[in-house]
Amino acid sequence: MNASVSEANVVLDYTPQELMVAAAAREIADGELVFVGMRLPLLAFLLAKRSHAPSALGLFENGVIRDTAAPRAFMTMGDPVNLTYALKCTEMKEIMAYLQRGRVNLGFVGGAEIDRFGNLNTSMIGRPGEDGFVRLPGSGGGSDIACLAQRLLIIMAHQKRRFKEKVSYITSPGYGDGGSWRTGAGLIRGGPKAVITTMGILRFDPETREAYLDSIHPGVTADEVKANTGWDLKVSTDVSVTRAPTEAELAVIREYDPQGHWTGWRKR
């Protein structure tokens, strides 16, 4: 592993997923209660705990509350190791009540499709009977997190077929059609804070609630990002370059994803 990690000030050899994990970790503040989920968000949570947010707590919707990394890596939150030395094991209803009560600072979700206002689709592409109709697994807890967490972080692969002018189905509401739509729709808080993609990080205008490109990952251009976005993506006037993961960060990520199941680092 050392061989593949270069010296400081030299471009590190990392995957886009590893960079996304590192960027997501930076969105977690110390002491926060985080709806963790699996895959990249779980790695981000663990990385944050090992660096700047040692007191953050993780919630899993099956009913697990953890303050430490599990003793070894796991593929689903229902692995026994995710219960070992947890702080609390309980029902889903209790976890979701904390979310609805406003106690959860940050939640992560992914999506098959997203639009310019951060609305997410994980339910179906097209409609039954239409050509190319694809049924997706559905919301799980995604819609609840998008509705009720104080802040939402979205993690997605940046592809034109996913970043669409209009999503087929709003599974997890973002800012609807912008502005104060959430309040009008009946939502009591929350909304997407950022979309961390394989190409950059999008944030949302505080007035219009439209997504704009806030930072671009090393080696990617704004034009490439725009070309992979299905709407005319606005770019910040002071767009920055996303900070690459540090050597220390990569070491932690790889410790928790030893096979590279989620970050693909062994295949890079």
């Binding site: 692995d79 039954p128 559905g138 819609s143």
Partner: protein, 306 residues
Amino acid sequence: MGASKIIPLDEAIRQLTTDGMSLALGTALEGMIPFAAGHEIIRQGKKDLTLIGPISDILFDQLIGAGSVARVIAAWVGNVTSGAGYNFRRAVEQGHPRSIEVLDHSNYSLALALAAGAAGTEFAVTRSLFGSDISLNQDIFRELICPFTGERHLAVRALRPDLTILHVQRCDSRGNAHFWGSSGVSLDAAAAADRVLLTTEEIVPTEFIRSDPSRTLIPEFLVSAVALVPWGAHPSSVYGFYGHDDDYYIEYAQATKDRTAAHAWYQEWVFGLPDRAAYLQHLDAARLARLRLTHPALTIPVDFGY
């Protein structure tokens, strides 16, 4: 004391399941899923079932692919390890082996629907799902104004499954069940249902249950039958007993990507195996051994004395 409810699994499925019934399964989410019971339902050729569960995992996919299912009420249907459930997709997209109706919930709204069913109200209330297309299904969700504050809430229609099947670590012959670890919506699914079938890793004397009353999840009066089925949740995990067989999920995804292969999968893993004993033999002992827990973390006793 109450009579024993222990019967063999095939007998339990014959007695408790009927075509067209609603059935809650996989209520602890990724762990403790009653796969053995589900396979027996497929073998007995049950039809037109309504499946209820939060993130129902590949047991729903298997029941759907077998043509047993008319309707799914769930928040998520797929394969927790690899993503898509291909039988589910084929049923919804192509009507193969039959078309199914899907009533989309979120995890929380499904939990609330079962909690309302368990508590004997006709609905529950939430502030989730506003602005989501999920909430547009008026059969399940209706807006409701708080009579005290005027604030908007969403009413979620109660669910009362005809039958809930739970896999548990241990229970007595009357159905008092210990369950440890995260339980998802299991208790509400059992308390909402008209009947409950427990499949269990172990059957223990009632004295054993009484030794730790805070570990009891399911009380006997909810339970209609108990079937002893060690490894009955494979390939999902059973806390304290065995791990999650991630490889099996990945293999299953590959094996069911197309119709023909899926057909072979059913022959190999369901129809070709008369019962759970045959399933375990086919799975092979070395694989089971790999799934057994190797790092114990025993709880410290507490005192329920006087």
